[in-house]
Structures are given as structure tokens and as C-alpha cells.
């Protein structure tokens, strides 16, 4: 027999086996038993179903973005990753500025969504919203992002009016070894390096973001660069778990017109924004043998933002939380806790705008309790309330009741009623224009909390083994919404609470595991809003603006296909209906990513964004907003050392 013939036949046999593998998609389980331990440890696993999280039992509209989904989406920053959550409205304004909202109320200073990164709240008390340009993590180290649409005030406090976004990074023991990620495209370049051991990891990241253009083709002054570094340590001993996380960043970004703060009729000489921050979070958790646990979390967060020529801010925040969960009786599952937050805000005012007083120390104190009661075998009632105290409005009360009924093992129907509150921020109360009297805008000394009463009805389940489905309908009643009122003298304006409104809508998503290697998912949001001015309010411009900000409908579609064990192909498409103020036409966007692993520990990918059709704008006025056009990003991720 010819030896070369033998080689060919062996090779052919292997090809045939591989072909069978591709057809069957996986090795039979019996083969796994034949592998030795070391071989088993080298097998890469695939999870078909979402992890069996307790979240699946939660009587709320919860969507989980897994770290793997972020990787496969080709997202290069947090807001882009959040586009994976069907319930969120994510819009890009500049190269680095985004606005994120749920259930309406999108705004340049969107203020009804709470965002936490590893338990640290990143909303700013300046406008009770999020500066997305400085919220960054090493995306490769994100374990998951939990997106809860709807009120979360009882557990999370004021600001969790329309939703909570929980960004959770991986524990140190799952990120061992080195990782080097480098990518670039027509929107910028990113390089990141991480190294981890049993109980720690350290990382550094650098971003250089290119400027964008308006629809008219004018270059925008929004190029940015930023560097950040940080660490995480995790230690566990018996009943105790300790986590310490620290991050620091520094960067600068251009400030395109109309600027961070725009003042009607005034042309500002906009300068480069400089940004920096440092934060340290520590969490200690003790579990007891009877199933109860105590968690103590503290963090310090310092942020600096210089926005020439309008303002500069130095903010130090301290936060301490305590949560005790226990089961006093078989049918009860109680969690209660307290939170203390202290902010030291130092503003540098300008001739154009002033926050008065410039220096303000504020404290927030909260007490909360929630009891989940197993009423019957498949029926759970959860009632809770939070009492929170702030310096502006005093005490606020945030109660909620949630009922979950497991009609069948894989089908849950739930209902909830909640009262939730957005307490005034410095922007609502302390803003004066210009920087010196006589003022045209005289703050909002009388601004009280915005209030929402929210009713929700939902279904979540698995109608077939390969299909998961979630549908939520909501009806929210808002009162005391912020308005800008004209003073009786007609020489100045001030902030008030002259608007009320209702929003109704539906959020739904489904995921189908078509074959072992092909998953299809889709989502739809429908929203109907009605707003009215209350007697005494004259903010008709504000009313018109509020009525047209949000799209009535949005759709999302995603296909994740494993072409082979080494290559994957993903398509994400979304369509967002029009907004009328400022006018943004309806648009569709399609992103495609191809990922390839030529060898173990090395991954190459190319992502094309907005591949079809012409570009689109997403938010703010057409003369200044970024026209989001075609984008290409090539990324290389190399893993080395202990973890690989």
C-alpha cells in the first residue's frame, strides 16, 4: 500500500468526522465520558439557555445582555452594547455622547434611568442623569448587563423611575491570564490590556475617537481620547466574600455646537472638554448557614469635568449601603437595608451660567424593606417600600407590590403596581442664566419631585424548549413633570412642575434557538404618550418638545450563527420610527460582524455598522447632530498566560 494514500485516507476520514460534527453540531454525550480530565478541561462549552438566574423569577421586565452577546455584537462602548436590550432607546448625539432612556422621556439630560457599574451608581446629582462619555469598562470583562425596564425605586431609590441598568463585571477568578485587545476603524482606535491571577486583575485601556460629521458633511469638533486603568480583587473564605474594585480615567473631547450647555441667542466660544475621575468600591458579603446574608458596600467616586466656557465641576461622592436578607419563616423572604450618600459638589461658574450656590454638600438617606411571600405553591407576592430623604424635598416614599404566578413550570404571569419619584437635581433647582444678575433663568426654587404611578402586566416563559418569550404592558401616570415657566414680569423664566402625562406601551422580545448553532432574536417596543400642561403653566414650547421626543415604535432583530467551531457570523438590525421634536426621520440600521479564531487564544473580527442605505441622525437638531454613517471596525483579541 502506498503510504501517501494512507495519509490521505486518514485525512479524509477526519474530514468526514468533522462534517458529521458540523451536521450534528456537537459530540455525543457518551464521547465526553471517554475523554480524560485534562481533555475535558480544554473543551469549550456553549450555553443554549440563559443561565438559570433568579432573575427569571423576578416579577419585572428584565432583559439580560451576556458578555458573549456584547462580544458578538461588535460594540466598542457601553451605549452601543446597550442597544442589544430591546426595551432601551439608545441614541448617539456626538462621537462620544449618547443618551439612553426607557419607556420614553429621552432628552439630552435624560433623567429617569438609574445606571450602576458593579454596584456603583453613576448618575450625577448635577442633572440626575448619566454622562455616558465617561462611563466605560473593559467590555471583555463584562459578565452581564441586567436591564430592568420599569420602576425600580423600592430597591434602587429615586431616579430608578423608568428603569435600572446594572453593569456587572466578571469576578477575578474568571479572568485569569493576559488579554490584549486592539482594534481600529473609521471611527477610532481602541487598545486594551488586562492581566489577572487567582484573586486579582489589572487593566489599562486607551481610546482615540475620530470626529464625526453632520448630515451636511460639516466636520464636527467631537474627536476624543481617553485613557483608563483599574483593578479588581476578589477573595472568598468560608462564609465571607470580599470584592474591591478601583478605576481611574483621564481624557478630553471636543465640544461641538451647540455645546454642553446651550443658551438661546448666545454664541459661545466652545473649548475642549477635559474629563477625569477615580472611584473605589468595596463590597463585603457574609452568608449564614440558615440562608440569610449580610452585604455591606461602600464606595468613593470623584469626577471632574471642565466645560469651557460655561462651567466646571468637581464632585466627590461617598456612599455606604447595608442589606440584610433572611427568611424568618418558611414562606417569607425578607430583604431590608439602608443607604447613606454624601455628595460634595464644587462648581466653577461662568459669565454665561451659574449653579448657585456654587459649592453644595448634599446628603441622601434611605431605608427600605421588601418581603416576598409564597402565598401558595406557584404564587408569590412581593411587597416593599423605600423611604428616602433628600435635602431639596425632604422625605419621599416609594412603595411597590408585585405578584408572580407560575401558571405552569415554564410560564410565569406577573403584575405590579409601583409609585416612584424623581427628586430634583441641581439643574432643576440651582441653575441661573447668565452667571450674574439680572438673571433670565432664575433656577427653580419651588421645584418638587416628579412622581409616577406605574401599573405593569407581564408574561415570561418558554412556550417551546427552543423559544423564550417576554411580553410586558405598562401604563404610567406622571405628575409634576418639570417645565420652564415664564415669570409674571415676562422678563425671566424659572423651572416649575407644570406638566402631567400618561404613557402606555408594550415591550416584547423573543429568542429562538433555531439549531444548536443558530439563534434568532427579535424585540418590539410600542409607546403612546399624552402630556398636558397643568392649570397655571405657560410652557407650551416645552409641551410640544416633550410630545415629540420619543419614537412610537422600534423593532430589533438579531441573528447569531456559528459557521464552524472557529467562526461566527452575526447580524443586528433595528428600526426606529420618527421623532418630531427635534425632527428625526425614521431609520433602519444593520450591523454585521464576522469573527474568526485561527488558533486558540486568538480572535479576529470585522464589524460593519450601518451597512445598508445612507446614514441617519439619531437625536437633536439636524444642523448639529452626528450623521451616523457606515463604519468598519477590525478587532484583534489575544489571550495568553494562565487563563489560555
Amino acid at each position: 500500500m502506498n503510504p501517501s494514500r494512507v495519509v490521505v485516507e486518514v485525512a479524509l476520514l477526519c474530514t468526514l468526522i468533522s462534517g458529521t460534527l458540523l451536521a450534528q453540531q456537537e459530540p455525543p454525550s457518551t464521547d465526553l465520558a471517554a475523554l480524560d480530565l485534562e481533555a475535558l478541561m480544554k473543551i469549550e462549552i456553549t450555553s443554549v439557555s440563559r443561565r438559570p438566574e433568579r432573575l427569571s423569577d423576578a416579577a419585572a421586565s428584565v432583559f439580560v445582555i451576556t458578555g458573549d452577546e456584547i462580544r458578538r455584537s461588535g460594540a466598542t462602548n457601553l451605549p452601543e452594547a446597550l442597544r442589544l436590550a430591546p426595551a432601551l432607546d439608545v441614541v448617539q448625539v456626538n462621537a462620544t455622547s449618547y443618551t439612553v432612556s426607557a419607556r420614553g422621556f429621552i432628552n439630552s439630560a435624560a433623567n429617569k434611568l438609574l445606571v450602576l457599574i458593579d454596584g456603583r451608581s453613576v448618575y450625577t446629582p448635577l442633572f440626575s442623569g448619566v454622562f455616558w462619555d465617561v462611563q466605560d469598562v473593559m467590555l471583555e470583562d463584562v459578565d452581564r448587563i441586567e436591564v430592568i425596564s420599569g420602576p425600580g425605586g423600592t430597591l434602587w431609590g429615586v431616579n430608578a423611575v423608568n428603569g435600572v441598568i446594572n453593569i456587572i463585571t466578571r469576578s477575578a477568578k474568571t479572568t485569569q491570564g493576559g488579554l490584549l485587545a486592539a482594534g481600529g476603524g473609521n471611527r477610532g482606535t481602541i487598545a486594551a490590556l488586562r492581566y489577572g491571577g487567582d484573586h486579582y486583575r489589572v487593566y489599562g485601556k486607551y481610546l482615540d475617537i475620530d470626529h464625526t460629521e453632520t448630515a451636511a458633511g460639516m466636520a464636527k469638533d467631537d474627536a476624543a481620547h481617553k485613557s483608563m486603568a483599574g483593578f479588581r480583587g476578589d477573595w472568598a473564605r468560608g462564609n465571607d466574600q470580599l470584592t474591591i474594585i478601583g478605576n481611574a480615567y483621564r481624557g478630553s473631547e471636543g465640544q461641538p455646537p451647540p455645546g454642553s450647555i446651550s443658551i438661546g441667542g448666545v454664541k459661545l466660544d466652545l473649548g475642549v472638554i477635559s474629563l477625569s475621575g477615580v472611584n473605589l468600591t468595596s463590597v463585603w458579603k457574609r452568608r449564614f448557614d440558615n440562608g440569610s446574608s449580610i452585604t455591606v458596600q461602600g464606595y468613593f467616586d470623584r469626577t471632574e469635568r471642565d466645560v469651557p466656557p460655561t462651567f466646571a465641576e468637581r464632585l466627590n461622592l461617598f456612599d455606604l449601603q447595608f442589606i440584610h436578607s433572611w427568611r424568618p419563616l418558611g414562606m417569607h423572604n425578607v430583604a431590608w437595608g439602608a443607604e447613606y450618600r454624601y455628595g460634595m459638589d464644587r462648581l466653577t461658574n461662568s459669565a454665561y451660567v451659574a449653579f448657585l450656590p456654587a459649592d453644595l454638600n448634599q446628603k441622601w438617606i434611605a431605608l427600605f424593606a421588601q418581603d416576598e411571600i409564597a402565598l401558595a405553591n406557584h404564587l408569590r407576592l412581593s411587597i416593599g417600600a423605600r423611604s428616602e430623604r433628600n435635602d431639596y424635598t425632604g422625605g419621599e416614599f416609594l412603595p411597590s407590590a408585585r405578584l408572580a404566578w407560575n401558571v405552569a413550570p415554564d410560564h410565569m404571569v406577573w403584575a405590579a403596581a409601583s409609585r416612584t419619584v424623581r427628586a430634583p437635581s441641581r439643574l432643576d433647582r440651582d441653575t441661573f442664566v447668565p452667571g450674574k444678575p439680572p438673571f433670565l433663568l432664575t433656577g427653580g426654587p419651588g421645584v418638587v419631585s416628579e412622581i409616577a404611578n406605574v401599573y405593569e402586566l407581564g408574561y415570561r416563559g418558554q412556550p417551546a424548549s427552543s423559544l423564550t418569550l417576554s411580553i410586558t404592558a405598562f401604563h404610567s401616570l406622571y405628575d409634576h413633570l418639570r417645565t420652564q415657566e415664564i415669570a409674571a414680569s415676562r422678563r425671566s423664566v424659572f423651572f416649575g412642575n407644570g406638566m402631567e402625562g400618561t404613557t402606555s406601551g408594550v415591550e416584547m422580545w423573543a429568542s429562538l434557538q433555531a439549531t444548536r448553532r443558530w439563534r434568532l432574536s427579535g424585540g418590539f417596543n410600542g409607546l403612546t404618550e399624552r402630556f398636558e400642561l397643568k392649570p397655571g403653566s405657560n410652557d407650551t414650547a416645552g409641551l410640544i418638545a416633550q410630545k415629540g421626543r420619543d419614537p412610537r415604535r422600534s423593532w430589533r432583530f438579531r441573528s447569531s450563527l456559528d459557521l464552524s467551531p472557529q467562526s461566527e457570523f452575526d447580524v443586528v438590525a433595528r428600526r426606529v420610527s420618527r421623532r418630531s421634536s427635534p425632527a428625526v426621520p425614521a431609520y433602519s440600521a444593520v450591523d454585521i460582524r464576522y469573527g474568526w479564531r485561527p488558533r486558540k487564544g486568538l480572535e479576529l473580527s470585522v464589524t460593519g455598522q450601518n451597512l445598508f442605505g445612507k446614514g441617519h441622525g439619531e437625536f437633536t437638531d439636524v444642523t448639529t447632530r452626528t450623521e451616523v454613517g457606515r463604519g468598519v471596525f477590525i478587532n484583534v483579541v489575544s489571550r495568553f498566560g494562565r487563563g489560555s
Binding site: T15, S29, G238, K600
Partner: protein
Amino acid sequence: MRGPVPWHWAALLIAGLVVPSCIAAPAPEYGVKAAFLYKFATYIRWPVSAPARPFVIGVLGDDPFGSTLGEVVRGQTVQGRGIRIRALTRKEEAVECDLVFISASEQPNVKAILARLRSTAVLTVSDLDQFAEQGGMIGLVTTEEKHVRFDINKAALDRAGLRASSQLLQLARIVDESPGGRR
């Protein structure tokens, strides 16, 4: 003889491209974890062996394995004993098993379960976070690259009189147990 040669080359080329997948094909998470359960049973020696009775693997809580655990152990033996799988709903039933996998659905009860099984010759395995640190014997850990590794709590094994082979210990990450766990 010119004819067949290019064909051979083509076959080799295709094989070269596809062969690595023979080895690296990903497998479903709980298929791999089921195989680990079986492997642990073969790498650990129990203090008393009862050859008359089958080796019992219990799954406590919501069963994540589906049919895969049954497929993995079909026709296999542990020290000459056949293997039987039991679905468990109460921790008291776990005492009657040789190996118990504690499902993620039992997270709130894990301390009570471990307390009940303390010092019994039942090997406890789970993929719950920090399982071995909390007093469990073997914790399955999924790494960032989606490989399954395992933690061994040697103190808990010793207490139960279970002896792990040196090969198993070499591949494991050995974790400490706090004084709290020994109370």
C-alpha cells in the same frame, strides 16, 4: 499518474483546514459538566464501598442536565458498580447518594444543604459561585474562555473521609475554607 495527485492534495488541504475542529468542537455546557461528575466519581475513593448497590448520583433542585447525564454514564461503572441517577427535591434525600450535584436553583439553601451533608461520605459538587469556598467539596467554575475548571475544598473532602487522587488534586485549584466553615 498525474491525474490523482491534485486530488490528494485537495483532500489534504481540506483536511488541514477542518481537522482541528475534530478536537476543539464546543460541547453543551451541561454535557461537559455531566462528564466531569462521572470523572470525579472515578478519581475519588469513598471510605466504604458497597458493591452490591449501584453508585448513586443525585441532582438536587432544578435539573440542568436534561438527558445528557444519563447519556454520559450509560454503560459506565464506578469501581465495578453500575451508576444510577436520582432527581432530588429535599436535602434529606441527598444523604442516600454517593455524589450530589447541587443545582443553581438551590442557591438560597446551599448553606443548609451543606450543613445537612456535613461529614457524611457524600461528594458535593456544584457550579454555584464560590461553592468550594462556602464549604462544598468541588466547585465547577466556567472561565472567561468558556472552559470548565474545578475548585477543590480539601478540608471538606478530608472531613467526609473521601480521598481524591493526586491527579485530580493536581488539576484542581485548591481553595481554603474559612474558620466560619468549620463551625
